[in-house]
Subunit: 335 residues, 2 copies
């Protein structure tokens, strides 16, 4: 069983408009509502890959109730409700077990307005609810119980108001104590603090890695992140694929071609690929090929955050994974 943790879960609401015209009134399409937040996206892909997946984090208020309803529907074959034609991708979603902890606050919403004329999306993101110390304690009790039966855990996204910035570090320490491999996908200070607790893997993008280390050079920045505590770093570099820097070696994995589509959720699909590959005992090139193929199949899917299974299976054999030489963690002087 794989655990995904989404401390700042959201209900993602998507509308389509023929054309977005600021300061006018629009009639919108029927809303597509789905469980959102990075960890829930990862959970959905893991379940679709056939892994038993338990999603935890927090949910509260009327929006939390709707989020849990939508999560429960995943197992019933749907990937999103309220969808019109063409918005259900071929994910064949498995069910995700709901271990979200109830809170007094109200789960946040994100509103996405898709402009059909350009394909672009305008996002409006609410702030998360405040999580109390008592709610965090209840979460920790449940998390420890889940760890006893877990093969891996993914800690994903931002921390809602109320949680200490070191919360992910605490969850990493618990996982390490239980002997469960732990992946951390967050940014800023929660990432910085998390590293000190020595996660098995982090999956920053280049911006996050640069913010963390000060280096804009992926290989150097990844080595620096390892020096600060990450056992392995899988840096997602957009069209440049993924650079993995690990104790077993370094690899660059590239998609077969430049892709056009909606990149929403591509990083979360990569996390699901890496984690499922780890649990299944794949070697690094195998894990990276899966991460890249899932990520690309997510960009190609018509609905944001879904993946196109046929594209995934086809792309899996086409990903190029190359071993690259290890970079010194300090830049060589070139003058």
């Amino acid at each position: 069983m794989i655990i995904t943790v989404t401390p700042n879960a959201a209900l993602d609401i998507t509308y389509r408009v023929p054309r977005l015209r600021p300061h006018t009134t629009h009639r919108v399409s029927e809303p597509v509502e789905r469980p959102g937040g990075k960890g829930l996206n990862v959970a959905r892909v893991l379940a679709a890959l056939g892994h038993r997946t338990v999603a935890t984090g927090f949910a509260g208020g009327s929006t939390g109730d709707v989020l849990r309803e939508r999560l429960a529907e995943l197992g019933a074959g749907g990937t999103a409700t309220g969808a019109g034609t063409g918005t259900r991708a071929d994910t064949r979603a498995g069910s995700v077990e709901d271990a979200l902890v109830p809170i007094a606050g109200t789960t946040r919403r994100t509103i996405g307005i898709v402009d059909d004329a350009t394909g672009d999306t305008t996002m409006f993101n609410e702030a998360g609810p405040t999580v109390t110390a008592g709610e965090w304690a209840a979460f920790l009790t449940g998390y420890r119980k889940l760890l006893a039966g877990a093969s891996a855990v993914a800690l994903c996204g931002s921390l809602p108001p109320g949680l200490p910035v070191g919360s992910f570090a605490e969850l990493i320490r618990e996982a390490r104590t239980a002997g469960v491999p732990v992946l951390l996908d967050t940014s800023g200070e929660p990432l910085r603090r998390g590293l000190a607790a020595r996660p098995d893997l982090i999956k920053p993008n280049l911006d996050e890695l640069t913010q963390l280390t000060g280096s804009t050079q992926p290989a150097q920045a990844a080595e620096e992140a390892r020096r600060r505590g990450a056992r392995a770093v899988a840096a997602s570099l957009g069209p440049e694929g993924i650079l993995a820097v690990t104790e077993d070696g370094c690899w660059q994995a590239l998609p077969p071609a430049r892709l056009s589509g909606n990149p929403t959720g591509a990083g979360d699909s990569a996390v699901a690929g890496l984690l499922s590959g780890l649990v299944e005992g794949l070697d690094w090139p195998g894990r990276l090929a899966r991460a890249i193929a899932l990520s690309a199949a997510t960009v190609l899917a018509p609905a944001a955050g879904e993946f196109d299974r046929a594209a995934y299976e086809e792309l899996l054999g086409q990903v190029r994974v190359t071993a690259v030489p290890r970079t010194a963690s300090r830049p060589a002087t070139t003058s």
Copy 2:
């Protein structure tokens, strides 16, 4: 007791952003959520004026639940929840009794994005839920019971999918049978059909009146609407105030000055002014003065759809109401 009917009620959700930039991601202010749809706006103002007010119509699904919670909170002194500083107007709302009929469908939402840089609002409106024949029958049973104790009824807004276009006409006939004065504030075909059932008053704006009669000249169009069945017509003309054409005479009522502010809900406040004046036995100039003052105080209030009570009381004495000569219902030939 006054009844307001809102067949297509909505939960109005308002966010503020520093500046709306299409195709980017925005962090939004805490949402302000309030019961929406014309009839619920009218009910809120009637209650604030001290009238016992019962709101009926339909509510369903999780959005319907939130709408009813917000409606219940009106009586507890709040005018909207989730409001940050500066968004609660001085409405001192009274309570509105909830007689909304449960439906299987989900109440619609409207999302308003206020651009703080310009003050303009961009609206995204969901379509209403389908109302079944059984739900309409349940509504009618409750409506007839309410009519037995009512001093007036306002029928407001659009009809949701599923309701016959003649639904307002049916509600007007029921009110007339019960001897209860009825105001109709709708547009298009439901207005056209409603007229044939002879409502006591309609409150179209000039666009609605022109669409109905083909005439762009307010006095002529109002006379034509009376010929088609309306006992009286109060045409709202924006900055030109209200033109009332009745069996007792014709009046033009003007605000004391051009106003700047948010016109959202100004028409609904005018309806509340007209209806409360009727119930209190005010003459037409008195009703029109109240409608104009409430409407202007709504434009001046910081929050959309609220009204500024101090401004209302000050403006009430400043509204100019002038008797105007009756227009022939056919235009004079001028050549």
